[in-house]
């Protein structure tokens, strides 16, 4: 099957549009990568030409095609310690700043959404347990949510392939995982018990209204797939969920600049994160 030819100007036109919408910038060197995926979607949508496809992309009210395309353009794999620089930021910069404002006995609350199959919340749990010097001075509640109950079941179960755990240092792997089959590890009960998994539809106020008093939210590689209005609504949910001065981390190619100005940009040595304004 021959790919539909995409001219340089079409690539540039698309690139500007995609950057405006998502903040993701494709270098000229990514032309083959982009063209190939555009071709695929042109074929699948039966748009016939780039021009027709681009019109669909720009104006479709549901935004489904843009989401579909974004999915294709971004790498979606989940695995332990993905975007590790943010976990480093959590233990080296974010948590120290938060506890400086807390009183002894205060509980810290972290929300990780979407949980997917659990790699992210368990990564947070592992990192915080092993790499945060102050872990024994503070109690942390770790809540992780997803809209999909099947995947929540998988997350609670805590079984992972070799591929998912490949970034975990051997010492940690040995301490917190048990090999249960040639290609499968299970995370220990104590870690499984340390995360509360809940079902949440971010767009449903009945689900989200009781999520409050969080100090840190991880929402990585989710909002990028939402349309503009849904992103803003999600941002509001997170704003309400955070304590004043609380932090939110997005995926590495995501930015609040495409979503809302409610949060303050903060730059730590490890990462850029966003902060709910502190009380005056």
């Amino acid at each position: 099957m021959t790919d539909i030819a995409i001219s340089l100007e079409e690539f540039r036109k698309f690139r500007e549009f995609f950057y405006r919408k998502t903040g993701i910038q494709f270098e000229d060197s990514k032309r083959y990568f982009v063209d190939k995926r555009l071709s695929e979607r042109i074929r699948q949508t039966e748009a016939g030409t780039f021009r027709n496809y681009f019109t669909l992309l720009r104006f479709q009210v549901s935004g489904e095609e843009l989401q579909q395309l974004t999915n294709l353009m971004t790498v979606n794999e989940t695995y332990f310690f993905r975007e590790e620089y943010q976990l480093k930021c959590l233990v080296r910069s974010i948590l120290p700043e938060i506890v400086a404002r807390k009183k002894t006995g205060d509980v810290l609350r972290v929300w990780s959404i979407p949980s997917s199959s659990g790699e992210e919340p368990y990564s947070i749990a592992l990192y915080v347990s092993e790499l945060w010097p102050a872990i024994n001075e503070w109690a942390i509640e770790l809540i992780s949510s997803d809209i999909d109950t099947d995947i929540l079941g998988k997350a609670r179960d805590g079984r992972y392939s070799v591929r998912a755990i490949q970034n975990i240092p051997p010492a940690l792997l040995q301490r917190y995982f048990t090999p249960i089959a040639p290609n499968e590890y299970r995370i220990h009960q104590e870690l499984r018990d340390s995360v509360e998994f809940t079902r949440v539809n971010l767009m449903n106020p009945l689900d989200t209204s009781c999520y409050r008093h969080f100090d840190v939210i991880f929402c990585r590689n989710l909002l990028i797939y939402f349309d503009d209005l849904s992103r803003r609504k999600a941002a509001e949910v997170f704003y309400d969920a955070l304590n004043p001065g609380g932090f939110i981390c997005l995926g590495h190619s995501e930015s609040m600049s495409r979503i809302t100005s409610l949060f303050r940009v903060r730059k730590f040595p490890e990462a850029i994160v966003y902060q709910k304004p502190e009380l005056p």
Binding site: S7, R58, P205, R232, L262
Partner: protein
């Protein structure tokens, strides 16, 4: 380790779940001194189309960013002709934040904006015309290209034309070429117009 499971169901929200308050109660809460109360009211008023005038009135004077965001989201969700008319009025205000927020909201309401677009593009205020072209960016309507061609053919204001040229580069077809060429002669001393029209023509011709 000090990771603990949440001991109880999550702390109660300060305000009850959506749907329990009447319109009258929500409108009262919309005037509360505390921003979280106003924000909560603004959000729940999305369910009441009758609330549009109050939401708009609140928007015009709200100083808290989080409340303003909630008001805009609710107005966008209601998104009827009355809401859009109110957002158009925001375009005429001196408040830059309000204006840009209104533009953003209208971009999410192509259906409601389409019927009034032609009028907006010929508004006596050049700034309103510029903002209207900005809003056109997300409008799917068979006449968009023609409207843009008309703008660059007739609008006396260079920045209105400049904004239109930018968009034509993205949505224009060969139909726009003559008008784009003509624009250069209308503003022969503007290097930006020369640059932008050349870019738009390249985009159109080499697509």
């Amino acid at each position: 380790m000090a990771l603990i499971k949440p001991q109880t169901p999550f702390p109660d929200a300060q305000f009850p779940v959506a749907g329990v308050d009447s319109l009258a109660d929500l409108l009262t809460t919309l005037n509360e001194p505390a921003p979280p109360a106003r924000r909560w009211a603004a959000r729940n008023l999305a369910a009441f189309t009758e609330a549009v005038p109050d939401l708009l009135a609140a928007l015009m004077q709200e100083t808290d960013a989080s409340v303003r965001e909630a008001l805009l989201i609710s107005l966008t969700e209601i998104g009827n002709a009355e809401a859009v008319a109110g957002l158009v009025e925001c375009l005429r205000k001196e408040d830059v934040v309000l204006r840009n927020a209104a533009i953003d909201a209208m971009r999410s309401l192509p259906g409601a904006v389409a019927p009034i677009m032609k009028n907006l593009l010929t508004d006596p205020d050049a700034d309103v015309r510029i903002f209207s072209v900005n809003i056109l960016e997300s409008l799917r309507h068979p006449d968009v290209e023609q409207w843009l061609i008309d703008v660059i053919g007739q609008d006396p204001h260079v920045n209105v034309c400049a904004t239109a040229v930018d968009l034509l580069g993205e949505v224009g077809s060969s139909k726009a070429c003559t008008a784009l060429e003509a624009l250069r002669s209308r503003f022969p001393d503007e290097p930006y117009i020369e640059f932008a029209t050349r870019l738009a023509l390249t985009r159109i011709r080499e697509a």
